[in-house]
């Protein structure tokens, strides 16, 4: 048997006996992340679904001056509360989301046909109030439009003359596309769980090996260092691949429990897409294993390696975050960037879009090339005397 296969087989088998590795690779990542994701999605979906049906709660100051306005608001589903005190303070302290202040002169000014100033107190930094604010403004505008229409009619003018342009919004996003907007985080969860699967294997095979004093006898053997390093990287990659497969499988099952259909959404995550995701992610597992082996080989102890690799796990988020900030879409020019290209490909698969062969090839090719370069760097590191620490 070639030496690297011996190293590979030993590192893979040995780690099945380590509780920490098994827990993090086979349980925490593959079960924890889909669970967390499903719960988060359910909360997000429930919130976006229920808010239009909830009655709009509106505190009113001076409501006694405008019984007609109050009647209009109530008839459109607003729940009105009489309010006394300083509106600005109450809104700032989050005691009230919205406070409407009606001036005492409203009856007199309306009778004269003069404009009336009402004040709507809100906190624009409070994101949870955003939807309510929009609804309150729409209701007040509706009341104003109605009054104006009556005034025009009373003077023999058709109210429709004021509507030169009517805007009708047509939402063209498909149900699947809308789900993907929410499911955009899914690819990151998969990348993360994949890397977690190999963390402890990579540490054990490098910093762990040195710390327990088994590295020096290993290096006295007539075996090329490249064989040792290749076996170690492949072992970490194999664990990552197992973790990846379990995670994608768990997502495939757990997304069925999301009531996406209720909201007119759908996902394409069936067995075929799941297999495609695993296949597209394999080069990334190799890259992750090479990176972790390289980084952990620099560290002096198991603990130090743990600290560093916790940071390394976050590295793939960086390109994805940039893409989200700049609203980048999967373009050929970006497909050579590892983690980002996998993110785009998974995204396309979930949207049910066809994958271009060029995109797949550049993702697989570039990621594998990066993995080989990092692997070569790790071999160089192991050829140095200082590797003994």
């Amino acid at each position: 048997m070639r030496a690297f296969l011996t190293v590979f087989a030993k590192e893979v088998a040995e780690n099945t006996r380590d509780r920490r590795t098994v827990l993090s690779a086979l349980l925490l990542g593959p079960l924890g992340t889909p669970l967390l994701f499903t719960v988060m999605m359910n909360i997000a979906l429930a919130r976006s679904h229920e808010s239009p049906q909830r009655p709009l709660e509106l505190a009113v100051v001076g409501g006694e001056y405008a019984p007609n306005l109050l009647g209009f608001l109530r008839s459109h589903g607003a729940k009105l509360v009489e309010f006394h005190g300083d509106p600005a303070t109450a809104v700032r302290a989050h005691e009230r989301k919205l406070v409407l202040v009606v001036p005492a002169q409203i009856g007199e000014r309306l009778a004269r046909g003069a404009p009336v100033d009402v004040q709507l107190y809100t906190d624009s930094s409070d994101t949870s109030a955003g939807a309510d604010r929009g609804r309150a403004e729409a209701l007040l505008r509706g009341y104003a439009t109605q009054l104006a229409a009556w005034r025009l009619e009373a003077r023999g003018v058709a109210p429709s003359l004021l509507q030169a342009i009517v805007v009708d919004e047509v939402d063209v996003s498909t149900p699947t596309g809308r789900a993907v907007a929410l499911l955009g985080m899914l690819s990151y969860f998969i990348l993360f769980a994949t890397l977690m699967g190999g963390v402890y294997v990579a540490i054990d095979a490098t910093a762990g090996e040195r710390e327990r004093g088994s590295l020096e006898p290993l290096l006295t053997l007539p075996v090329a260092r490249s064989q040792l390093v290749a076996g170690k990287i492949l072992a970490a990659a194999a664990w990552m691949a197992v973790s990846l497969t379990l995670t994608v499988a768990a997502f495939t099952v757990s997304l069925r429990f999301l009531r996406l259909d209720v909201f007119g959404m759908a996902t394409n995550l069936g067995p075929r897409v799941a297999l495609a995701i695993v296949a597209l992610m394999l080069p990334f597992a190799l890259l992750g294993a090479a990176l972790m082996t390289l980084v952990a080989s620099f560290t002096r102890s198991y603990r130090e390696a743990q600290t560093w690799l916790t940071a390394v796990v976050l590295v793939p988020t960086v390109p994805i975050m940039f893409a989200a900030l700049y609203q980048l879409h999967g373009r050929a020019a970006l497909m050579w960037i590892p983690s980002l290209s996998q993110h785009f490909l998974i995204d396309s698969l979930l949207r049910g879009e066809p994958l271009s062969a060029a995109a797949v090839l550049s993702s697989v090719g570039a990621t594998t090339a990066f993995a080989l370069a990092l692997g070569a760097a790790a071999v160089r590191l192991y050829r140095r005397e200082q590797i003994l620490g």
Binding site: M1, A3, T6, V7, K10, E14, N15, R17, D18, R212, G213, S214, L215, E216, P217, L218, L219, T220, L221, P222, V223, A224, E385, L388
Partner: protein, 242 residues
Amino acid sequence: MIVLESLRKRFGEVEAVREVSLAAADGRITGLLGPNGAGKSTTLRMLYGVLRPDAGRVLIDGIDGAVDGVAARARLGAMPHAAGIYPHLTARENVAYYGRLLGLGGAALARRIDALVELLEMQEFAGRRAKGFSQGQRVKVALARALVHEPRNLVLDEPSNGLDVLATRSLRELLVRLRNEGHTILFSSHVMQEVAALCDDIVIIARGQVVAHGTPAELMRRVPGGSLEDAFVQALGGEAPA
């Protein structure tokens, strides 16, 4: 047969090994004796190929380690100072891993491990995972590992460190047995009595240099009173009692 020719090794400002030459012959036990920090471990690390000498040569059965390191090291069984074993593997699996890396396998490897288990009296713990092994048990596993490919030459760095009396004695018996089979054995120690009890040849090093070498009898003849301890102290540059 192990020959070291004028080895030198420097780490930054520190000259760990200035000039070490020695020859360890077949069928003899050679002891590398010296105080802590004398350069014993550095010398042995150059011998088994994890450090590159700044100057000088390492010859194992005539093969230059710098020219053909793989062939040279294939003839060598090494037990470094830190000879850690894998806690999640059994004693047998630890030995088998090295056997496979050295190209052994199948029934031949299993038979070889059986023989080593018997030779080193490991029957009691051979099938147990190494986590929680005593120092004596760990040294036996490390020794079995170093011997798995039946090397002609055996190099051990402070092998008796941390062993109790019984374990030390069985280690000695083993080394004698291997010597009688014709193996070359080179081991380092800072304990004079141990070297005196076991070695056919002694090389004393201090401050990175060989300061004396010879059979125990030759070394004792050089000092009045004729004790090996006096010879050792004198070789290190101290005053031998008159």
